[in-house]
């Protein structure tokens, strides 16, 4: 579903964020991306969503070479992705409901169907009762869950999450991991970046460990104590 082949990404100024990264994530697989901050996790996720383009190598998503896509084809790639941003990227000029509605408006769903889907997504993340609230009035954990609701409302094939538990206390983090697992169970492909190896302790999932832009091979589940920064 997601396939990196010898991918190198260098930012203007010479900083090499990723060097020679190769991996495959199968359809329906759930994988974690770990590493210190600055190890290239966000860059890797941005390459999948074609927010950045690789300098060399190829990034295949759903069998499309993302790096070579025309600008006009990007929207259709991104409609298959649900992205949970590190900084949430919520819109504070509209309420919770309308924030989740936005992806459906973009795809042109009709009003009735949209409302149904928005409420289903909000229900899934436990925000159904807050649909009239402004996102600014939500707690950090609630904002994170709102961001998840917006990412899944369009029923994407692939879910990308950048530090979804970054600033949350352990209880919230567990809630959110539980939500991700439920998506995994219904066949969504997930790629989740985290520097918080604590959430991995009781999971038997694939782990991709990045160190200064290089993908580490070896034991798939790193020692939690060593990975904690």
């Amino acid at each position: 579903m997601i396939s990196f082949n010898q991918v190198r990404k260098r930012y203007p100024g010479g900083h090499e964020a990723l060097s020679n990264v190769s991996f495959d994530i199968a359809q329906g697989e759930m994988a974690f991306l770990t590493g210190h901050s600055g190890a290239g996790k966000s860059t890797l996720l941005k390459l999948v969503a074609a927010i950045e383009r690789p300098n060399s190598g190829s990034v295949l998503v759903n069998n499309q070479n993302v790096g070579a896509l025309k600008a006009s084809a990007l929207p259709f790639l991104r409609r298959n992705l649900g992205i949970i941003f590190q900084d949430h990227k919520l819109l504070f000029d509209r309420n919770v409901f309308d924030n989740v509605l936005l992806p459906l408006q973009i795809c042109g769903f009709d009003h009735k169907e949209s409302a149904k889907r928005v409420r289903a997504a909000l229900d899934k993340v436990g925000l159904l009762k807050r649909e009239k609230a402004n996102p600014i009035a939500l707690s950090g954990g609630e904002q994170q869950r709102l961001c998840i609701a917006r990412a899944i409302v369009n029923r994407p094939l692939i879910l990308l999450a950048d530090e979804p538990t970054g600033n949350l206390d352990a209880d919230y983090a567990q809630d959110i991991m539980a939500i991700f697992k439920s998506f995994h169970q219904v066949g969504v492909t997930l790629l989740i970046s985290t520097h918080d190896a604590g959430v991995l302790q009781d999971t038997k999932v694939r782990v991709l460990n990045l160190k200064s832009g290089v993908l580490q091979t070896g034991p798939s589940n790193p020692n939690p104590a060593a990975a904690r920064s």
């Binding site: 941005k46 969503a49 927010i51 950045e52 006009s72 990007l74 929207p75 259709f76 790639l77 991104r78 409609r79 992705l81 992205i83 941003f85 990227k89 819109l91 000029d93 936005l102 992806p103 408006q105 973009i106 795809c107 042109g108 009709d110 009003h111 917006r150 369009n154």
Partner: protein, 302 residues
């Protein structure tokens, strides 16, 4: 089809909400556009009225045709026939030389001088009323008549018509230049308003791009914004012109009583009003389009 319609309707509502948020700024923008458009459009209306008025007062110009002294009665008859059959001539009047002399005596008070002449120095003449036409066609007709046999001279007594037409043409050109400049101003106003809108909406644009919005989806509300603002500006211009003319018509009515001929200003015709509205809508759309093309590509998520 219904889905697309509903989408456009919701974009329309969004655009309207943004135009009037804050309300005063929106109204001021529309007023500025309205004033900018009402200047050339108002001058155009006044010009049209002036043209109508001049035509009403002057009727059509005349051509005086002087025959040579040796023209005989059957020559005159032949010419009269030619003139009456000519497609560009409306009316023909024959002025015999004796009648012309009588008129001259009466009108100038030179009876003594004229009485002292041995013979009548005046030729026979025709007065021709051409069908309405512009200066050029009238002159062609004059030359054509001047070249006929037994015609000494054909004179177009409408030097003033030339001048007036040139003057109106000049004024028309001035209005056109003014209209072009102010159209540019309208495009510039919209360009800038949309630029500010895009800056305000920056977060939304970025997020929308990240979750798969096509460029046309992002562009649409701004284009609607420009077009609607232009249309409302055009409407404001229409109201300004209509109210101004109504105000001008009252003193004009008392003035026209003094001249014993009814003068009143006509407002924009239905066709002209529609053109004004469509034109302002188009200009607003164009300004928005240019602005969006210029500024939207600068917002790339990263």
């Amino acid at each position: 089809m219904r889905r697309a319609y509903a989408q456009h309707l919701s974009v329309l509502k969004t655009a309207l909400r943004r135009i009037f948020n804050p309300p005063l700024a929106g109204l001021l923008n529309i007023l500025v556009i309205g004033i900018a458009l009402s200047l050339p459009a108002g001058m155009y209306v006044l010009l049209q009225n002036a043209q109508g008025l001049v035509q009403q007062l002057s009727g059509t110009p005349q051509i005086s045709v002087f025959l040579s002294m040796d023209a005989k009665a059957d020559d005159i008859e032949k010419l009269r026939k030619q003139f009456t059959q000519h497609p560009a001539i409306d009316l023909v009047e024959f002025v015999p030389r004796d009648v012309a002399l009588q008129q001259l005596k009466q009108s100038t008070g030179l009876a003594d001088v004229i009485g002292g002449l041995e013979k009548n120095p005046l030729p026979d003449a025709f007065v021709i009323h051409p069908k309405p036409g512009n200066a050029e066609t009238l002159d062609t007709l004059r030359v054509e008549i001047g070249n006929l046999p037994k015609v000494e001279q054909a004179q177009l007594d409408s030097a003033w018509a030339y001048k007036l037409e040139a003057l109106l043409k000049f004024a028309g050109l001035a209005v056109l230049i003014l209209a072009s400049l102010l159209s540019l101003a309208l495009i510039a106003i919209t360009f800038n308003t949309i630029r500010l809108q895009i800056l305000t909406q920056r977060d939304e644009i970025e997020v929308a791009k990240l979750i798969g919005a096509s460029n046309s989806f992002i562009r649409r509300p701004f284009l609607y914004f420009g077009a609607i603002q232009g249309l409302l500006g055009g409407l404001a211009a229409y109201l300004i012109i209509t109210v101004s003319l109504a105000l001008l018509n009252q003193p004009l009515a008392s003035l026209s009583q003094l001249y014993a001929s009814p003068i009143s200003l006509h407002s924009l015709s239905l066709g002209d009003s529609l053109s004004l509205l469509l034109f302002s809508l188009y200009l607003g759309w164009l300004g928005a389009w240019l602005s969006v093309a210029r500024h939207l590509s600068q917002i790339e998520p990263g």
